[in-house]
Amino acid sequence: MNSGLPDGSCGPDGGHPAQESPPGGFRPLLRGSQRFDPSAAHRDILVFDDVHKAYREDVPVLKGLSLEIARGEFVFITGSSGAGKSTLLRLIYAAERADQGRILFLGRDVSRLAPSSVPFLRRNIGVVFQDFKLVPNWTVSQNVAVSLEVLGVAPKVVRQRVGEALDRVGLAGRGRDRAANLSGGERQRIAIARAIVAEPALLLADEPTGNLDPQLAVDILGLFEDIHETGVTVLFATHDRSLLDVRPRRVVVLDEGRATDIRHGLNDDAAVERLKVA
């Protein structure tokens, strides 16, 4: 990634927090840089190149998966239970390493990142985990604020932005409750708030509406769309077919360890058939 652009172009723009990387850390191109290099807007933010991954030797999960995701895209990822959706996302934020193949995030191979650079990669990625990963004895606010605190954002700013994020997911006024005391859907919304509060360049959502009622699911999808509008790339792993129908978006199906692309939602009949079989 550093080949095309001088380092000086990585300045933060007005709307986003200054995310400083120390020398040697991961230095991605932030969204702000695109005004300096118009072609970058059309470059792929994320490239999977023949990626293999097996947790146990005899049962491979990904078998030569290739996938390109352009900057600013909104992609649904779907597939049956155990197909490898969560694995795919975990590879992106370097919680797992690929056995083979390359995963390029902004031109850099995250599978070959030094452990000390991983935190700086993750600061550019917001993740809604399938199992939420909340700290049960922290308050709702603390759970959301942690995303900003690790960046060293000032407490006053943290408080304000946490309030905004909770507002967006419909949890205004619940900030002081312990996370363990909230309902399943409310916990899921804390996880969403934490993922969006730091305004990351890439948003990964792993089944973020599994515990929400249909109306709320559509609302939350709308929230992701809003964030997407600001230029954020969104990967949205879900089983919920009704969400896929709501907007005609690019849909990627994981099947047999490979990714099959269906552009523009489920209007492709063959793809629909495929989904039903999966």
Partner: protein
């Protein structure tokens, strides 16, 4: 600072674990500090004996003052011997008993405190000459015994070097104990806060940010443990001193002294450093990979 605040919050949440750990660290340090205390006191006694470089010729109670005078003259004439002083039986008694009200001691017959001639040996050669002289002195009918304290001094020296090596050994043991206790505690704390640590790692906290509070907690445990040990030993010291003062004083020739404050501070610092280092090292391994939910 932020990290101190986070460490303090975590300590409060895991108070029980930390108290248990501090207790174990304190026990280890009590052993070390006790050994140091013994060394310090033996050394003090040795120094008193050595500095004084004294010797005594004990006289039988039926010795006449003429006979005493003769011995005194013989001693004074010996080169390297100075400050010859006659200590009467009464004086000896007073010196030993001091202000003690000990029934057993006061019940001792006057014969237990023979009169003596005390003198100083100005150099090592003198003590050798006295060794030769003592044969002749002992042969005198009115001399009961000659005591140069040589043997006692030697004995104290060997005791002291024994004490020092015991203290060094204990230092090693304490180091190991503190390291193992603090690292166990830190790994337990890490496990108990695994949810928190995982979240921090996932939102992009550096290893340093995650590990910071643990290192502070380790240092705190070591320091508090060592300080508690010094405190406990201080209490024991005061109790022993007040209840056995007479007897110990007579035995040692001085009331027992406590560790100098520099040693106390050094112990606490040692605790803090070991604790912090152990915490830092013991958390290295699991954070590189991914923690599992």
């Amino acid at each position: 600072m932020k990290v101190l605040e986070r460490a303090w919050r975590a300590t409060k949440a895991d108070l029980r674990l930390h108290v248990l750990s501090v207790f174990s660290v304190a026990v280890a340090f009590v052993c070390l500090a006790a050994a140091l205390l013994v060394v310090v006191n033996i050394d003090a006694v040795r120094q008193r004996w050595e500095q004084s470089g004294r010797a005594s010729v004990y006289l039988r109670s039926d010795a006449t003052s003429q006979q005493v005078e003769k011995v005194r003259a013989a001693l004074s004439a010996t080169p390297g011997v100075g400050g010859v002083r006659f200590v009467s039986s009464e004086e000896a008694r007073r010196e030993v008993l001091g202000a003690s009200n000990d029934d057993v001691l006061t019940a001792l017959p006057p014969e237990a405190f023979p009169a003596s001639l005390e003198f100083e040996l100005q150099d090592d050669a003198a003590s050798e000459r006295i060794a030769q002289l003592s044969e002749q002195l002992r042969a005198l009918p009115y001399v009961e015994a000659v005591e140069t304290y040589e043997a006692w001094g030697e004995r104290l020296k060997s005791l002291l070097s024994g004490g020092v090596s015991a203290a060094l050994l204990l230092l090693g043991v304490v180091l190991l104990a503190v390291i193992s206790v603090v690292s166990s505690t830190m790994r337990m704390a890490l496990q108990r806060r695994s949810a928190e640590v995982e979240v921090l790692k996932m939102v992009g906290a550096t290893d340093g940010y995650v590990r910071g509070p643990f290192v502070v907690e380790g240092a705190m445990q070591g320091a508090v443990g060592a300080a508690a040990a010094v405190g406990i030993l201080g209490c024991i010291h005061v109790i022993i001193r007040s209840s056995f003062d007479g007897a110990l004083g007579t035995l040692l020739g001085a009331s027992p002294s406590f560790l100098p404050w520099t040693a106390c501070v050094a112990l606490v610092l040692l605790g803090a450093i070991i604790g912090a280092a152990t915490a830092a090292v013991s958390l290295r391994q699991p954070l590189v990979g991914e923690t599992c939910s």
